[in-house]
């Protein structure tokens, strides 16, 4: 399938899902004559029309280059992306419990190991320095609130 074909199909699917969601929006009577559904309907219409037009366009095009995501050919890149997303989400889930310092250090050590492969000492220094410097400058110096977590009682600042 070509890029345009895939984009068109994607738009149609998203548009239909969104349209279905629009019908689920509750409508109250609060003197709001236009209502919360009207604008989403317009959006769904724009996306659906554009998606269908893109598909028709593509079917009539003379030159049609197939497009591949390269999940196999570039598996190393996709694996790194998947890992980054996984650990990014995990970072968020443990942040409040562990506290910023520990969570950021762990995240950085994993990410540096993922990208800067094999240089363990360098990675350790970068991760430690990044977590410490950012915490000191924002939480301590600028007094922005960062979760203190496990270390909450121990931190001298």
């Amino acid at each position: 399938m070509t890029k345009n074909m895939q984009s068109g199909i994607f738009a149609v699917i998203i548009g239909l899902a969104y349209l279905a969601g629009t019908f689920k929006i509750p409508v109250f009577e609060t003197g709001d004559s236009i209502g919360p559904r009207s604008f989403p309907f317009l959006i769904a219409a724009i996306v659906l029309i554009s998606g269908v037009a893109l598909i028709i366009n593509d079917l009539r095009a003379k030159e049609r280059k197939p497009f591949s995501w390269g999940f196999v050919a570039h598996s190393a890149v996709w694996l790194r992306i998947a890992a980054t997303i996984f650990f990014g989400i995990a970072f968020g889930l443990v942040l409040d419990t562990l506290g910023y310092l520990i969570a950021m250090f762990l995240f950085m050590i994993i990410i540096t190991e993922l990208i800067n492969v094999g240089r363990h000492k360098q990675n350790l220094i970068i991760s430690l320095a990044f977590a410490l410097i950012s915490f000191l400058s924002f939480a301590v110096l600028l007094k922005l609130s960062l979760p203190r977590g496990l270390l909450g009682g121990i931190l001298p600042f």
Binding site: I34, I46, I49, S50, I56, N57, I81, T84, S134
Partner: protein, 495 residues
């Protein structure tokens, strides 16, 4: 006219005391640094200053906060140019041509162009602020929801027509952005819309998506060539001045961008994002070589940068004339000033002209100070390009996640930023343009609200959009920009 000069002299008396000059410098530097970090914008910069200002004389406090405010405007574009990570929504456009320039080894020149354009825009904006405040403020009052809706519609269509490739994909991108903007509790009726998980109740913060789409997606793109450095030769890195050609090509964009930015800034709730996107659209359509845009066109950098800084001056008009904040940053400033017992507004000019004009004069001084900070700052900044990718990328990720947390102090946003980064990467692979999506996400809420407010006021009749002349003018411009783009692309099928 005489009174203006008299007042201005009074202002300079206040602004040019050593203490105030020192604080302009400190504030400007702090603002620049904070503006550079993703997620930390001028609002955070001013907020962290609040405890510092407790002991200050109110004029000095206001001067310092203003310095942080436009310091962040300068700083916001540094990160756009260096690592394709806008520090603030109004620095998104700087990525379009600034980052390609940096990739071509002209990072120093790009930084210089942006600093000079910011300076010119800021200075022009101040001049407009001094002489045009009253008429412009009166004009802004005429701007109701119908006009606002049409302006946003114009900004959105102009951005679609800018994007390369298919216009249909531009519309899809815009639709996706608008869809994301409608997620959350509907302010008007309180109905919950598209809330799959409770954390989405407050909607999606566009800055989170912006960090995902720009900073993190850029890291993903670089995963394929981690071991490379930027293909920059060491010699050109050092050049941080503008070439003669760059000066020549910057001139007209300054002339167009500054007044445009100022006017947009005055309008309630419009802001730097619209100003920069519109200025970019203007430059691209005025250019004889539109194909250079997106690949390092000087005009695409100079116009929006001057518009952005002029816009931040314009945003002060409602604060100074009405005492109401025109932007999130201005709101934080207002809060901090109230704690000091000062209320900006019309009364301030009458009762304490030395405060009001002292601040205005200090902003003129501040612009010069910031230029003096930012030009030399480019020298250490460009050295960052020497850091190998395999070290730079983790740092960008770390800063991106840190900035995400500072936006809302919510760890749920980490999920959003990760997922949106993947989305941004895949949309890029499909050649679906990102700018219309981001702009639609930023403006979506306001667009819908003004659409509904306009219809509420007209009791449901859509004639309000074409019966008001300003609104009609924007609608016509939107149509023209679409027709123009269709003609240029010429590929569209007659459906």
């Amino acid at each position: 006219m005489d009174t203006v000069f008299h007042n201005l002299m009074l202002g300079f008396d206040v602004a040019l005391t050593p203490v105030n000059i020192m604080w302009v410098f400190i504030g400007g530097l702090l603002g620049t640094v904070i503006g550079m970090l993703p997620g930390l914008g001028p609002a955070t910069g001013v907020a962290v200053l609040i405890p510092v200002t407790y002991g200050m004389n109110p004029t000095t406090a206001l001067i310092t906060m203003c310095a942080v405010y436009y310091g962040a405007m300068f700083g916001g574009s540094r990160a756009s140019i260096m690592i394709n990570t806008p520090g603030d929504a109004s620095a998104i456009v700087t990525c379009f041509d600034g980052y390609p320039m940096a990739k071509k080894g002209k990072a120093g020149e790009a930084l210089a162009i942006s600093a000079w354009a910011s300076f010119v825009g800021g200075m022009a904006g101040m001049v407009f602020l001094i002489f045009l405040t009253a008429p412009v403020a009166a004009m802004a009052l005429k701007f109701g929801p119908a006009e606002k809706f049409s302006l946003m519609l114009f900004a959105l269509t102009a951005t679609i027509t800018l994007s390369e490739g298919s216009i249909l994909k531009g519309f899809i991108a815009m639709g996706l952005g608008l869809m994301m903007a409608t997620i959350g509790l509907d302010g008007q009726s309180g109905a919950s819309r598209f809330v799959f998980v409770e954390d989405l109740q407050d909607g999606i913060d566009f800055l989170v998506i912006m960090i995902g789409f720009y900073a993190v997606t850029e890291v993903f793109k670089n995963f394929s060539d981690i071991d490379q450095q930027y293909s920059v030769d060491a010699k050109s890195i050092g050049s941080v001045s503008m070439s003669k050609e760059a000066w020549r090509r910057s001139f007209m964009p300054w002339l167009r961008g500054s007044p445009l930015g100022f006017l947009v800034g005055v309008l309630p709730g419009a802001g730097g994002t619209i100003a920069t996107f519109l200025s970019y659209a203007v430059e691209k359509s005025a250019s004889k070589k539109p194909e250079e845009f997106g690949h390092g066109a000087v005009e695409g950098l100079a116009g929006p940068e001057s518009a952005n800084n002029a816009c931040s001056c314009g945003a002060l008009v409602p604060l100074l004339t009405l005492g109401i904040p025109g932007s999130g940053t201005a709101a934080v400033m207002l809060g901090a000033l109230m704690m000091l017992g000062v209320r900006p507004g019309p009364v301030l000019f009458e009762q304490h002209p030395e405060v009001a004009w002292g601040v205005i004069a200090s902003m003129l001084v501040g612009n010069i100070v910031l230029l003096a900070i930012n030009l030399p700052l480019a020298i250490p900044l460009v050295q960052l390009l020497k850091i190998p990718q395999r070290i730079m990328l983790p740092l960008v990720l770390g800063m991106g996640f840190m900035g995400t947390y500072f936006l809302n102090y919510s760890s749920f946003d980490f999920i959003l930023v990760s997922v949106s980064a993947l989305g941004g990467y895949m949309l890029g692979k499909l050649s679906i343009p990102i700018p219309p999506l981001v702009l639609a996400l930023i403006l979506g809420g306001m667009t819908e609200q003004s659409y509904r407010n306009a219809l509420q006021i007209s009791n449901g009749s859509i004639s309000i959009f074409y019966e008001k002349p300003i609104s009609l003018a924007f609608l016509i411009m939107a149509v023209i920009s679409l027709v123009y783009a269709l003609k240029r692309h010429g590929k569209i099928v007659k459906v």
